[in-house]
């Protein structure tokens, strides 16, 4: 499973990779707010303030016939 985090304002991709909370041990990134903190909580492209409320977080699961 993969997780993406995008700026809610301009849609810039901020994170793509393993689902952050999925790994049992050795988590390099503890949670989504740590990703945003790496950007100084500001989108590098549009300058919008980033918080877990202002970004779009999507965890992609296996597709089904209904999807």
């Amino acid at each position: 499973m993969s997780e993406t985090i995008k700026c809610g304002s301009c849609g810039m991709l901020l994170y793509f990779g393993e689902e952050i909370k999925r790994r049992l041990y050795m988590r390099a990134i503890p949670d989504e707010s740590a990703v945003l903190a790496d950007y100084g909580n500001k989108c590098p492209r549009c300058g919008a303030a980033l918080s877990t409320d202002s970004v779009k977080i999507e965890i992609k699961r296996r597709a089904t016939h209904e999807s």
Binding site: G11, M12, Y15, G17, M26, A28, R45
Partner: protein
């Protein structure tokens, strides 16, 4: 002549390397933490770097595994290392180091990787399987720009993004200039150059140029064929693929690399799981790259591997037959 969507203006061929060099230079000016990792190879704008940023270049020699370890260590200390090499060397030889030392911890390392089939570099350097072999590594973003404008914007986006990311510098003839300067590139977003009604060609990198030529061939036969530029292989824009399949009901994929685990397989998987649609892949079928002659009249390898616009047109006709059969 075919009509194209907004931000598309087909122009003369231009080197993608130029756009990448411009973006890298600007990124190094903007970000003092950016650092060039050399592997006894060129680097974009190397003369400018030698004159202006000599202290931000580390030459690791022909020791790619070591260079990858150096890049990982620098990234752990907050630097933004950028490596440049043929893909078989920077990412093929150092596959395990990239997995273990960079991707597991998701270190912020950037890769500029040359791959493709073009000219006389031979089987060792004309690799075609590298891009596909990277697709199954978690945490990696893979971008293959279609022209010089997109290459510049994709490289800027790569440098803004925090996380491991590779931009492919395709070994191919120079692609057309496709995009206008105000085109906005987004990592993970495909862009429809033309929507079409009968079929959609989903192409990546240089093959977008061949897809554009194929549209003109097919238009003379009365066919309305769309082109979707899939410049990000990972994360894949599944919504755009499904929308194109829903609109035209027939898909041809085109890539200048192995068709195993590359764009064609990714699109096929997406459609099989979501919206089963007739599909034909244009790519290199389970063989190694090799040398070929290029003359003003012909590119021997494009013909040998059946990657030209004529070959794409043949595949579109084939997929339309499948579509007709599928409809029964």
């Amino acid at each position: 002549m075919a009509t194209w969507n907004k931000y598309v203006s087909i122009g003369a061929p231009a080197m993608t390397g130029k756009g990448i060099g411009k973006a890298i230079k600007q990124a190094f000016i903007d970000n003092p933490k950016a650092i060039a990792i050399l592997e006894d190879m060129q680097f974009p704008e190397i003369e400018w770097f030698t004159d202006n940023m000599f202290d931000r270049m580390i030459e690791c020699g022909i020791a790619e595994q070591n260079a990858t370890g150096v890049a990982a260590g620098l990234a752990a200390e907050g630097f933004v290392p950028v490596t440049y090499n043929f893909l078989f060397a920077s990412m093929g030889r150092a596959y395990n180091q990239i997995r273990q030392s960079i991707l597991v911890d998701r270190f912020n390392v950037k890769f500029l990787a040359r791959e493709g089939i073009w000219g006389e570099v031979g089987v060792s350097h004309a690799t075609i399987e590298g891009w596909g072999s990277l697709r199954n590594l978690p945490n990696m973003v893979l971008i293959n720009p279609a022209d010089s404008v997109e290459a510049e914007k994709a490289t800027t986006a790569m440098m803004q993004y925090i996380g491991p990311c590779a931009v492919k510098m395709e070994m191919s003839p120079n692609p057309f200039t496709i995009f206008t300067d105000d085109y906005q590139f987004d990592i993970g977003k495909a862009y429809s150059l033309r929507d079409g009604k009968d079929a959609t060609i989903i192409a990546t990198g240089y093959m977008v140029t061949e897809a554009i030529k194929a549209v003109d061939i097919l238009e003379k036969e009365g066919l309305d064929v769309g082109v979707l530029n899939m410049s990000t292989l990972k994360p894949l824009d599944e919504e755009a693929i499904i929308a194109a399949a829903a609109r035209t009901g027939a898909i041809v994929t085109a890539e200048n690399s192995s068709d195993i685990n590359g764009l064609g397989d990714a699109v096929a998987c997406c459609l099989c799981e979501n919206l089963p649609t007739p599909l034909v892949k244009v790519g290199i079928e389970d063989e190694f790259g090799q040398s070929g002659l290029i003359t003003s009249e012909r590119d021997e390898l494009m013909d040998h591997f059946a990657l030209s616009a004529d070959d794409i047109a043949v595949s579109v006709r084939e997929v339309l037959k499948k579509k007709a059969k599928f409809a029964k």
